[in-house]
Amino acid sequence: MPSLFAALASAASATVDAVFAEGFTIEGRARPATTAGRVDVNAGTVPSTIRVSYPFQGVWIAAGAVLHAHGRAMTDSTTRGVVAEQPMVDVDLHSLLERPHLGDIVRRDDTGERFTVTRFKAVDFGRALVMLAEIR
């Protein structure tokens, strides 16, 4: 039996989504098979025939923090950003039909931006982070 806090967090999850969440669409991607019947790991991805495309609700997180590499007494405007936080979607596990795979495409419905899934991290209390990379 989950702890009282876990039960409350789980109940709050839907409320969080009702306030903050927006619509996304995930498209399952897969690599084609080789003539020998193995997955062609060096090929580009194509829409998966098994994992379908479906909409889901999630909370968009893009912190926008950028780390610049520079020494002392140098302004950010004179240097390049070297590390930035990835954009990600905070989702309730129930809104996903299955675990997203590396390379799946996520579309943010409001803006039409497209991203690839780079990592899927299950965090506590029934929520997970889908980490993304922008497709230019």
């Binding site: 080789t34 790991v41 090929a43």
Partner: protein, 258 residues
Amino acid sequence: MSLARTALRLQAIEALNADPVVDFFVQGRIYDSRIADFDHREPVPVMVLTTEEDEAEAWSKNNGGAPFNHVCDLVIEIAMNAVSGQGDEMALNYVGTDRELEAMLDLLEERAVEAITAGETPQAYLLRTAVTRRVPKMKSSRFATDQTGEKLAIRLLTLRVELKGEDQRDVRDVPAGPFAQLPEPLRTVAAGLPEGSGRQTCVKLNAALSAEPRIPFLGADITHAPQPFDPDIAPDRAHDIATGATVGDRVAIPDWSA
């Protein structure tokens, strides 16, 4: 010259995939120069094949290159982790203990070196006859970690490969076929690849090179004019043309291939 590296990677992957032991354990997960990070949940074992240090010394000390003695480091990263669940290793072909993990990496390395240097499959034979001349040196280093909570061991295998030089363009050599624009040895390798991403890459390279048409050198037209054997009289080209003193000759290159 550098397309010989492409040929090496494409055919080495074919040779490794053709090895029955490698195919049984790795199941086609041999990546060509993978850049993307590995998700720790991705199935293992995997191999990542790259061509790294590449150097070429001219065969002729006097004239320089080309042709060169082209030597390239073929690096194969063989990674595998251990599973802890009872019976998982049987179901997944994975291993359960550190000792088995190391032994399995040794096995895969053994087969990889064998496939590239002395393999008996048609793919390995093509690699040896068309792409590589010999492998004068090999080196293997070990890396192991359990930082992500999973035991992972990697063998970094470096094979120094002497590559067969691309043929110097022969005036009489008019390549034909779907990969006619590619230089050897990539042309031969491309023609032997099965349908898939490797072949598609060659199609793209071939299309990129077809902007430069390769016109066979069939001969030369030479126009000359006889001159008086007198050092005081300078040749006058306009005069020779006006008086019709020029003679046109054609030198045809015999077609030795016929």
